[in-house]
């Protein structure tokens, strides 16, 4: 068979896996207990590999806060020394079937959501959603942050575990419904967070501390982010490792680099510099204050949501400085670099056409069109948090490097 036919056949296979995969929320438990391969001295982070000394300030601070939370350090200063000591191993979340928004720091003592792609029998994991403001994922530390994380571990995690044990929740169905209700699921989760809350309400409210947990979720409109991310990862991971396939299965950033992985080149990172996102800044902030793009949340675009689904959520485009036509254009352009359309994520304003799904590295190389990623913008200083929202793109260098490796591996 000619190489072109091999690629076409492989891409059809990988795309079908992505399109028919599902994502069911099946459990909540401690990362050290449920994530396969997780070790006591591991610290998982967002993005492609990065050593502690090279991390951006917000990610370093999140590592320090996590070590205090885990009881491994008494103070932030001690945590910083410990992180530099070489006693801890820093691994990308993605390499342990995990994802984490922004800094993505996940330690063995943290509660995580467990999601299963029941069609292909693979599981993925994600830490729990803290909300906005002073939060660990933006590098905030201190008593308020630490106390909240402990409450999430001691009260919310076990309560959610009890709820989903009784009734697993179909996350892909919630995401699909949300797309028809104006969510694109990277910036906007107003519909999906409510749909999730509704689906879990009765089993939560039966519990002694159920109302406390219910209120916490109800007050956080992006709560579904930390559930939809492992959902999209469960779907994308199943399509990984299809020989000859040029479909992208991972896109993620650590503030320094943006990394991608390609199905037919399983496990290999291809990176380039992470952009500073362009968009609208909250009052008093500008692009000069912004950190490089970071977080595993570009898994949403990998799964056909976020920027790919812009046409479903014109409200988001307005929020980042555009209009409804811009939203349509972003999605229309995305169809030019994807293998096909999602069966389940349908856009009402496009006559229920499926969102662009299965980013094809070759189409990106051919057209020069880069996937558009809807993202929060973080302050470059730790702990200040979100200062705006906008759009970022992966670097073309990552796609070029991936193509060079593809040519080497498959003898082109």
């Amino acid at each position: 068979m000619e190489i072109g036919e091999e690629i076409e056949q492989a891409n059809r296979e990988a795309f079908d896996i992505m399109n028919t995969g599902n994502a069911v929320l099946v459990d909540f438990d401690l990362a050290g207990k449920v994530i396969p391969g997780m070790k006591e001295n591991y610290i998982l982070h967002a993005g492609p590999p990065v050593e502690y000394r090279n991390m951006i300030e917000s990610m370093k601070a999140a590592v320090q806060g996590a070590l205090v939370f885990d009881g491994k350090a008494d103070t932030i200063e001690q945590a910083d020394r410990m992180a530099q000591s070489g006693d801890f191993v820093f691994r990308p979340c993605h390499e342990l079937s995990t994802v984490g928004p922004m800094a993505g720091i996940t330690t063995p003592g943290m509660y995580v959501a467990v999601v299963e792609n029941t069609a292909y029998r693979n599981r993925t994991y994600c830490n729990l959603h803290e909300g906005r403001g002073a939060i660990l994922r933006f590098g905030a530390t201190g008593k308020e942050v630490n106390d909240r994380l402990h409450w999430m571990n001691d009260v919310m995690g076990p309560a959610l575990k009890e709820s989903v044990r009784k009734k697993p929740i179909d996350l892909k169905a919630i995401a699909a419904e949300g797309v028809q209700m104006g969510d694109e699921l990277h910036q906007r989760f107003k519909a999906t967070s409510l749909l999730f809350l509704t689906s879990i309400a009765s089993s939560l409210l039966e519990q002694e501390k159920g109302m406390e947990v219910y209120r916490f979720i109800a007050e956080r409109e992006q709560f579904f982010l930390n559930l939809s991310m492992p959902a999209m990862k469960a779907i994308a991971d199943a399509a990984d490792g299809v020989k000859y396939s040029t479909l992208v299965t991972r896109m993620t950033r650590n503030g320094v680099n943006f990394g991608i992985q390609v199905s037919g080149l399983k496990g290999k990172w291809f990176t380039g510099p992470a952009e500073v996102p362009k968009g609208l800044y909250f009052m008093g902030f500008s692009q000069n204050d912004a950190a490089g793009d970071f977080g595993d949340s570009a898994i949403m675009e990998t799964g056909g949501l976020g920027g790919m689904a812009s046409a479903a959520a014109p409200a988001v485009t307005r929020f980042v400085g555009g209009n409804a036509k811009d939203a349509m254009r972003v999605t229309e352009e995305a169809y030019r670099i994807t293998h096909g359309q999602s069966r389940d994520f349908q856009i009402p304003s496009l006559d229920f056409r499926g969102t662009p799904l299965g980013i094809d590295m070759l189409k990106v190389n051919e057209t020069g069109i880069l996937p558009s990623i809807n993202t929060g913008i973080a302050h470059r200083k730790a702990g200040i948090g979100q200062i705006g929202a906008g759009i970022s793109h992966p670097p073309i260098e990552a796609f070029n490097e991936a193509l060079r490796e593809f040519a080497r591996v498959y003898g082109l």
Binding site: E2, I3, G4, N365, F406
Partner: protein, 51 residues
């Protein structure tokens, strides 16, 4: 002004199209974008794949 009805062929970016269409002008769209600049080895790999 033109005595006959205006017909427009739009090549590439469609920035002006909505304004013309609002005035009842028929616009034929031609999809076009400037050639993509890429490293020569990437062009060479893509050429091999197109064969």
């Amino acid at each position: 002004m033109a005595q006959t009805k205006l017909k427009v062929i739009n090549v590439g970016t469609e920035w002006f199209v909505p304004f013309l269409e609002e005035q009842g002008v028929n616009v034929l769209r031609v999809e076009w974008s400037p050639p993509v600049e890429r490293p020569s080895d990437i062009t060479s790999i893509l050429r091999k794949l197109r064969k």
